[in-house]
Amino acid sequence: MMSTTEDRLATQGSADPEAAHNEVAAVQPGAGGAPPPGAAKGAGESAPVDREFTVEARSQRQQILSRFFHNKLAMTGLVGFLLLLAFGFVGPLIYRVNYLDLSSAAQSVPPGTNQGGRVYPLGSDAIGRDLLAGLMLGIQRSTLVVIIAVVISLALGLFVGALAGYFGKWIDNTLMRFVDLILTIPLLVVLLIVASNFPNARTAVGVAIILGLFGWLDLSRIVRSQFLSLKEREFIEAAHALGASNWRIITRHLIPNSLGTIIVWTTLAAAGAILAEATLTFLGFGVGPQDTSLGALISDGVQAASTRPWLFYFPGLMFLLIVLAINLIGDGIRDAFDPSNKRVRA
């Protein structure tokens, strides 16, 4: 959602040793594409002895990782994201309360209430379910939503985009006009129409599949445009000349070279899937009462905002933290992959 050019300006005049290091490393052969493993490693072994510093060649992957790991915001996002995942997946091993246990003794109790022989750290909802356990379960379910939705979208988007971008001609025209057409309809409306047909699929998995089936449109456009420009490059021509099959060229050359864009899209799509699931659920076409998710918790919370504010604040805060963490990671990855942006954000 944020622009790639954001910090271009800042790259000028940055003279930290990190940047200089990267520049030296960037001139080695193979910097234009993903180098074959091991090819780049021996390049800088014989460093001249009269220099004050040694020039160590680094593979592109090392450079990207290093840029990412030196980005404080991205690392904050990554650590935060891992902590939230740990909260959702490891937390239930420590806090052994089943969210689905209804308690008629403790309905709508505020946070910290000691009721019926146990404490409700974050309170409970109208039918006595423990909110802390709910948040843990919600993170698990929402993780599942993201994984299913993104994997389906990735597969479809890569397939359609690769087909259109690599083979071109009428395949490209047909597929892209089709994508253009669907994109004229607001995605939310498409999702609503489709979801309204499956009243029995009101589970996290059902919603995730619907999200996945319609989440690939923008990816296919991105992949197509990447392939269109990449396939004219010399190394693809070389692969053709060596007799590589179309399949090999797509999977071993084109996709690895588009990896940066694809990964950035994946993070945006992950955040988008969580938001879309919540919106669908809020409008009554997403996760129903038989299942739970962050979207379901937060929708319930909105209904209860004035009477039981803890049901509103805590799921909302959890939601904000997750999406924020994913967006920070995504921005960090984008900066790391963008060779014109060597400035590590302070």
């Binding site: 959602m1 944020m2 622009s3 790639t4 050019t5 954001e6 910090d7 271009r8 300006l9 800042a10 000028q12 253009d180 057409l181 669907i182 004229t184 309809i185 607001p186 995605l187 939310l188 409306v189 498409v190 609503l192 129409i193 489709v194 309204s196 047909n197 955040a271 938001l275 919540a278 919106t279 809020f282 409008l283 009554g284 076409f285 979207g295 937060i298 929708s299 919370g301 909105v302 905002a305 004035s306 504010p309 509103f312 909302g316 939601f319 904000l320 999406v323 924020l324 967006n327 920070l328 302070a346």
Partner: protein, 329 residues
């Protein structure tokens, strides 16, 4: 320019027809308009269903049904809903309601995005830039309905309690019944009062992403040679920023705003739901998708797609006005 406009308008008509056909197929295959009568106890006689099917044209072949609808749609007749009320009338009334919200939110979002984007770019890596960045990141990560509910339940009601009077209206698009007894100015101010919160919630969420974009494009412009030249020849700093910088930095934003119209319509659906507005969003969800009414969904889509396509066209034309180098041909 004229030729370009005509060609784009014709192209847009084709897009509108094609996307309406797509939605028609989606809804015709999946919706059961008679569903609401199937639950009725005692069940209506089969003749009732048959006559309803006949009236709604459900017995005709698919293509015939679509062309019947299209024939009406080009003359402004969007057919009738299940209860035999013309869709065009209902939709128009609701468009006036939603239109208020969409336009107000867009104006707010664009103005804020430009101001905040320019300030952040000019004062890059200063305190104000960081504050705006943090705000934008938080707003982008929030679901529309949660933010709207936050404004409604806590901010507005808090302010009302402080003032001891109902300053901010939290429910509805106008006070019920006011249009029958109120004077014109009463109605106007009543509607304005109801507009404040929904506009804030939709406008602020939209502005967040746009301000980041404006910041980026302003940063690009600030480093351009002509900016340095303008300073070097002695123009005052403020004039350089506004006349030379801003004018050029606005060009990319026009595209983003034009593409964003669709998203604002989507956001309006959710915002209306929170503030209980009787606008197009409610119409789509309750009357259209909720009642499996094909004509309602088609009408909704045509209206929203019309605006999306129109704004895209306006953005293209605006592009040419803002950047004389672009020749439309």
């Amino acid at each position: 320019m004229l030729f370009f406009t005509i060609r784009r308008v014709l192209g847009s008509v084709v897009v509108l027809i094609a996307s309406s056909f797509l939605v028609f197929l989606m809804t015709a295959f999946s919706f059961d308009p008679l569903a609401q009568y199937r639950q009725v106890q005692p069940p209506p006689p089969p003749e009732f269903f048959e006559s309803l099917r006949e009236r709604l044209g459900l017995n005709d072949p698919l293509l015939v049904r679509y062309f019947d609808w299209l024939k009406g749609a080009v003359t402004g007749d969007f057919g009738v809903n299940i209860n035999n009320v013309p869709v065009a009338e209902q939709l128009f009334g609701r468009l006036l309601v939603t239109g208020r919200l969409v336009i107000a939110a867009m104006v707010l979002a664009v103005l804020l995005a430009i101001v905040v984007g320019v300030v952040s770019a000019v004062r890059q890596y200063k305190a104000s830039d960081y504050v705006f960045t943090v705000i934008a990141y938080i707003l982008i990560a929030l679901p529309t309905f949660w933010f709207a509910a936050l404004l409604k339940e806590f901010v507005a009601i808090g302010i009302n309690n402080l003032a001891g009077d109902k300053i901010l209206f939290t429910l509805g698009d106008e006070t019920p019944g006011i249009s029958s007894y109120g004077t014109t100015s009463m109605i106007f101010w009543d509607r304005m009062g109801h507009l404040v919160l929904p506009t804030l919630s939709l406008g602020l969420l939209t502005f967040a992403a746009w301000s980041r974009f404006q910041r980026a494009s302003m940063l690009d412009v600030l480093s351009a040679d002509y900016m340095r030249l303008a300073r070097a020849k002695g123009l005052p700093w403020r004039r350089v920023i506004v006349k030379h910088g801003l004018r050029n930095a606005l060009i990319p934003l026009t595209t983003v705003v034009a593409i964003g119209v669709g998203a604002i319509f989507g956001g309006a659906i959710v915002t209306e739901q929170v503030f209980v507005w009787h606008g197009m969003g409610e119409y789509l969800i309750q009357e259209g998708i909720g009642k499996n009414d094909i004509n309602v969904v088609l009408g909704w889509l045509l209206v929203s797609a019309f605006f999306v396509v129109m704004f895209n066209l306006i953005a293209d034309l605006l592009y040419a006005v803002l950047d004389p180098r672009i020749r439309l041909s």
